[in-house]
Symmetry: C2
Subunit: 347 residues, 2 copies
């Protein structure tokens, strides 16, 4: 049975949602889960929900990295944190992948230490499939692992994203766009202007800059950006979808005609909502590591945690790590290594 | 009669939409418009739409700055561009404000030269009111004038935004948020972490970091960010609203029940659309200049141009420039001048 390690203490509603998500995943997906965190608390939660199966095991971790602590320090000092121990479980081969709804920077830092990155990658990137009106979705990276990026990082993200889109999503020749503030090459900040040049020479089908309005319209298959910009765009997109559906509902409820219309459109609205709900993706992969790591929203519900575990499972089935390793061109390695020899600075 | 200078050659559909927008503004708002651009072309357009009034005058400009040319060079060399001449019309007092749907960076650069910035401001910021589900809107700045910002620029944006929200929008004690990738102070990139510290000491009601999902929910009255991030967030928000309404329509049209429901919800959906449509705001002010400058979308329609002219008119009526000048605290001036003596670098 495939086993996934879950950092059970990381999320905003930990460990309750993590435990319930693990139970749901074990029951519905038939995967094994290694819950890592305060042992007693986890057993209590499991009991509370009547769990008696064997697919979930508990591994103790005595510390927790919170959302509000400085990342570098926490990664260095809290060696017994749930994310450290969970990453070690994966590094030791006792689980095939890791899921955390915790502090993204901490998960990234710990994963870099315990699992390491692929030879061709300086900085792993958080990649997530965003909903698009076309229904196909767009892979966006980085959406939050690297708040500061260099141009060659964006080029590496593009190469990883294109490989992922081709090998895992099944898009033969994925279009790659660079998120910027104008379609013209000269528009952007220092980072995107430099990255634009590198991308034109990169081994991907680079179609130029895309603007924020093109994320949801599905104009490209892969969108590349630094982790700060990507995170802002992702949350703006998700927040707008949610708020707009709420606004539409309250607008409809203000008139009788609207109420009737609202009843009639309910199936269509629900279908749209389900298709666009970020919970259904469950989170994103940290691409570029020597292991499967899925980061879920801090506010993940039970369902979102279960979906994140499913996402990790798909990553393992698709053997993403080997595919990236085999397909990443040496050329990218060299050009980036030469301009960024250390490759380990953290934003 | 109040007169507004319009850069008639700047937008994607120039000068057709600029001319029609000017006619609409002259007819409906009773303002005078100085159309600046290729004289003959403008007279042809005016004739084409049967304009015979006296409220629109034409001033010739022989050059055009396009969206795709490097800004610094264009600002320096194209002294006879429509935006240069239009800014001069304002500087000479022949119009009380400037509207352009052209290259934002070029308008900013030219306005800095021809009009100058307020004593307390290093970098003017493009400020626009975004739709929120609360209906009150949120002022966001910078949404595209400064692709690269320093922490003290963000602090100045906060002070200007708060004054604007109080004096013009009428919010007594506006809440100011810093756009970042986590609500916790330690989350963000180097710029926001440093700006967070400055904002805590700034003379505004700083309520901390906000995430992308909080823009549309109306949690704060003023949102501060660098121009790259703000532009991405703005366009993501606008694009998502548009795409989502299109997606809902096509979802509804796929079933008979949906079609009927769609008919019934039409008034509610239209009202929502009108409230959220970026065209209704028409653009944003470049706050911090010694003059009223409104930047409209490059793709502005006739209606959007007319609304941008109306926005410039409101800025003049509210005397935004004097209010900012009188209310900007000296303290901000000094702290920022000391850390950024030149104050004129452009991203």
């Amino acid at each position: 049975m495939m086993k996934i390690a879950v950092d059970a203490m990381g999320g905003d509603h930990a460990p309750a949602n993590e435990v319930q998500g693990a139970i749901q995943a074990a029951n519905e997906l038939g995967v094994g889960v290694v819950l890592v965190g305060a042992e007693r608390q986890l057993h209590d939660e499991l009991r509370k929900h009547g769990w008696r199966g064997r697919a979930i095991e508990v591994v103790d971790a005595t510390e927790v990295i919170t959302m509000s602590e400085p990342v570098a320090q926490a990664v260095r000092r809290k060696r017994n944190s749930s994310v450290h121990v969970a990453a070690k479980v994966v590094a030791d081969g006792r689980a095939a992948g890791l899921v955390s709804a915790g502090n993204t920077g901490a998960v990234m830092g710990v994963a870099m230490i315990k699992l390491g990155s692929l030879a061709s990658v300086d900085r792993p990137a958080l990649a997530t499939v965003l909903p698009t009106v076309t229904g196909k979705g767009a892979l966006m990276l980085d959406v939050g692992a690297n708040a500061e990026c260099k141009p060659e990082h964006l080029m590496q993200f593009a190469v990883m994203g294109a490989i992922y889109a081709r090998e895992v999503i099944g898009i033969p020749n994925p279009r790659v766009g660079l998120l910027s503030i104008g379609e013209e090459e000269v528009k952007g900040n220092d980072l995107t202007k430099e990255a634009h040049k590198l991308l034109k020479a990169a081994p991907v089908r680079f179609t130029g800059n895309v603007e924020g309005r093109q994320i949801f319209s599905g104009d490209v298959d892969v969108i590349v950006c630094d982790g700060f910009t990507g995170n802002v765009a992702l949350k703006t997109l998700e927040g707008t979808i949610r708020s707009l559906l709420v606004a539409l509902r309250s607008e409809l409820e203000s008139t009788t005609r609207g109420k009737l219309g609202g009843l009639l459109i309910r199936p269509a609205a629900s279908s749209l909502r389900a298709r666009l709900d970020p919970e259904t993706t469950g989170g994103g992969y940290l691409l570029g590591l020597r292991g499967i790591v899925v980061i879920a929203h801090g506010s993940s519900s039970r369902v979102a945690i279960s979906n994140a575990i499913a996402l990790a499972g798909r990553g393992i089935e698709h053997d993403i790590v080997s595919r990236l390793q085999q397909t990443l061109p040496e050329r990218v390695v060299e050009s980036s290594r030469s301009t960024n020899p250390s490759g380990t600075t953290r934003g």
